[in-house]
Amino acid sequence: MKNYDLVVVGGGPAGMAAAVAAFDAGVKNILIIERDTKLGGVLNQCVHNGFGLTRFKENLAGPEYAEKFSDEVEKRDIDVMLSTMVLEVGADKTVTAMNSEYGVFTLKPMAIILAMGCRERSKGALNIAGARSAGIYSAGTAQRYVNIEGYLPGKNVVILGSGDIGLIMARRMTLEGAKVHAVCEIMPFSSGLKRNIVQCLDDFGIPLYLNHTIVDIQGKERVTGVTIAEVNPVDKKPIKGTEIHFDCDTVLFSVGLIPENELTKNAGIPMSPRTKGAIVNQYRETDVEGIFACGNVLHVHDLVDFASEEAEIAGRSAYEYISGKLNKEKTVNLINGANIGYVLPQKITVPSGDVKVFFRVTNVFKNVTFKVKDGDEVVISKKKLTVAPGEMETIVLKSDLLSANKSGNITIELEAQND
């Protein structure tokens, strides 16, 4: 088999953008390995629009957004291997994969970009009591049945979790003639984008039950009903007497996305418990030199536009690494302070250019001040009216501010009154 300089694991939006950026930067021998039968990843089943608004100033459907990038891949001399599963990534920069044509084979590129994406948290992770009959799906599985296979998994639906896929599927199932009785959310706020709450629930009169969860699922062969109940906002335990029953044949779960990092963990790459992805520097390079990560395998993005942007950083950095230009003299650690869930990257190597830092807040807040600190000293202060965990925040750290860092740490924190 051919020797590659760069292997990209995953041909979704992140993998494609990374490969294209690496090629344009100067890497000439690139292979994308994709487990599915075509490039595009989960975008292929996201037939709704709303993609590309930031990047292309166009309102695209998922497959259209994917096609923009697969066209770019095709235009370049980038090899693509489809229906191929990567079984193992080694810290010595080996990639072992398998497909029907070549069997099991191992590659030893100079750099690797991990772009495996994420998967949905399943119902099983929640230990919800009741039946395990047909009619229980994760929202993404239902989306695949409807949009790819062309079949309707049910007609009377209750959805647990108000993440974006749950919201999108509430609308999609309604458009297909199903009745969506309720969307329940255990938190006091939705983790989905505001525009999706409006366009997918409000516009169709679908009720959103905040602080509610499913306490029982009934049915033998097929689901016949669910019972939901209000939860105590502190301990999240159901409150007796608040139960509401719905007759339904389908329950969808949209209860979070988990970066799919089995390969990363098995390679021994240090992980962040907060993002559930690898710890990276501003180049999206993991703690193993020459192995990069980007897209939803690194942290779950709100918009694919941001995943593409991040992937391009990884792609260009892979070129810099291969050509020996990644200069790292000093490391500054980025720390999530008060009311901040995570920051990414978790470290910045200096010298650097300006670095755009991504972070999430832990709760819904109003009238907030973000503070960036070098040790105890506040170096940036920025006000904002409202923030929510569902919307990613960014802040740019200027090159000179980074070089001037004294404490070795930069902390980002939020001052606010709880909403």
Partner: protein
């Protein structure tokens, strides 16, 4: 006309069928569900018990010790995963340690080898995550873990490869006695046989009742479980029990053969013999008990929870005997724990008894082995490549969490006993049993099933009629 009918396709019926298939006889298994291994064999702890629990002289003691000794060879022949991991009964106070001493002595009387009482220090070395309150334990080195549904499926498959027949969706409704038995199903199918073995699990009292034998009653005891991701697969190494009480062995924490961790079961007696739902109280009980046995059980890593029903009889021992009303009708009932462990020995015993009665000869060409490719992912790369070269479908991974290939899924559909449902494929291959619980692979498996079975996509079921996964086409 069959020589022998076995009613009930669980692990006990399966092992009986397999042992019967050694003989020249026309045999058939009747199963009311859409697949085999749908009752207690579908959802239990999967433990091959050492044999110190059962009272000396009981059938449980006899078949347990015998079955445990047969398990390594049987599982090897049938290509079923088995691991001799050893079990540990944990003591928390002096009273417990006395109980353990009693179990130790009973074990010796039952003929169990490899038993020893260990102190706190040794216990902590063996199981670093054991509760700080544990003071000592009984260590049984011969105990093991085995996959219960896999053993049932493989034994039935092996019997079928040796000529046995299987009738699924055959719910026995009527048995007429006479010179021979005439058995009618709920939907009107009729089969005749000279001999019947009743191994119908929680319904075995009902089946015996069809010939007027009401000599025993079978109750259903629900057991709820939580399964943890293989990422936590080494949380414990052995099977950990509390000291047994009157209600049974209690909640255990154990590794499974597939390197998950299993927590459970609860033990709730119930009248409804079909209700396998989990309950909030039951799952909370599992978590609380597991956390008494071990420190900081990683429940956050749970991938599923489920419940199964175990049969128990009003005689508190196995019922393995000819019906008093008909000497051609064998009852094998009330096979509660240690039923899985005992199954190979029960199968062997029943087959030989029936063969004697019917004067059967052994086949010359009985093939005891069933080559499973459940182990594909454990092959070396060279071995994998050899398989892929011959059958390219083995190069295509369908279930990414458990690394299950299209080749394995096709084989599950084509090989005895043939999978016809999504759950049937899951039990045979593990596709859909990983951390995403089928989220990614289920739509693919549905399309493979539709194609292989030659049925429309929307008619593919999770687990038999009424459990169709899709309700129709989109607009």
């Amino acid at each position: 006309m069959y020589d022998i009918l076995v009613i009930g396709g669980g692990v006990v019926g399966g092992m009986i069928l397999r042992e019967l298939s050694r003989f020249n006889a026309k045999i058939c298994l009747l199963e009311k569900e859409s697949d085999v291994a749908m009752g207690a064999s579908r959802a239990n702890s999967g433990i091959s018990h050492a044999g110190f629990d059962a009272k000396e002289g009981s059938l449980k003691a006899k078949f347990n010790v015998l079955g445990a000794s047969m398990m390594p060879k049987v599982t090897e022949e049938l290509g079923v995963k088995y691991k001799n991991n050893g079990s540990i009964v944990v003591g928390f106070n002096d009273e417990d340690m006395e109980t353990l001493q009693g179990l130790y002595e009973r074990g010796l009387k039952n003929g169990v080898k490899g038993l020893k009482i260990i102190d706190q220090q040794e216990l902590r070395t063996l199981e670093p995550n054991i509760s700080d309150d544990a003071v000592g334990a009984l260590f049984a080195t011969t105990a093991g873990i085995v996959c219960p549904y896999e053993l049932a499926i493989a034994s039935i498959g092996n019997a079928m490869d040796n000529g046995a027949e299987l009738k699924l969706n055959f719910e026995v409704d009527k048995i007429e006695t006479g010179e021979y038995f005439t058995v009618t199903s709920k939907d009107g199918q009729v089969v005749k046989a000279k001999y019947i073995v009743n191994s119908a699990g929680i319904y075995s009292d009902k089946i015996a009742g069809l010939i007027g034998d009401n000599s025993f009653k079978i109750g259903a005891r629900k057991g709820e479980y939580i399964l943890l991701d293989k990422e936590s697969g080494n949380f414990v190494n052995h099977t950990l029990f509390f000291c047994p009480t009157k209600k049974g062995k209690g909640i255990l924490v154990s590794q499974t053969v597939d390197n998950n961790i299993i927590l459970g079961p609860t033990a709730t007696e119930q009248d409804d013999k079909d209700d396998v739902t989990t309950t909030a109280d039951g799952l909370n009980d599992v978590i609380a008990s597991a956390n008494k046995l071990c420190k900081k059980v990683p429940v956050f890593n749970s991938i599923t929870s489920f419940a199964g029903l175990r049969a128990y009889s009003d005689r508190h021992d196995f019922i393995i005997e000819k019906s008093a009303l008909n000497d051609k009708f064998y009852n094998v009932a009330g096979i509660e724990s240690p039923g899985l462990t005992s199954a190979p020995a029960i199968g062997d015993f029943i087959a030989n008894e029936v063969a004697k009665d019917l004067n059967l000869n052994k086949k010359d060409n009985f093939n005891p082995t069933r080559k499973a490719d459940y182990f594909f992912k454990n092959l070396t790369n060279e071995e994998k490549n050899a398989v892929i070269k011959k059958i390219p479908e083995y190069g295509k991974i369908v279930c990414r969490c458990e690394s299950i290939t299209l080749g394995e899924i096709l084989r599950a559909i084509r090989e005895n006993p043939k999978a016809t449902t999504v759950d049937g494929i899951k039990r045979r291959t593990r596709a859909g049993m990983g951390r995403c619980q089928g989220g990614f692979c289920q739509p693919v498996i549905v399309s493979v099933l539709a194609k292989e079975l030659g049925i429309p996509y929307e008619q593919v079921t999770k687990s038999g009629k009424g459990s169709e996964i899709n309700v129709g086409r989109t607009k």
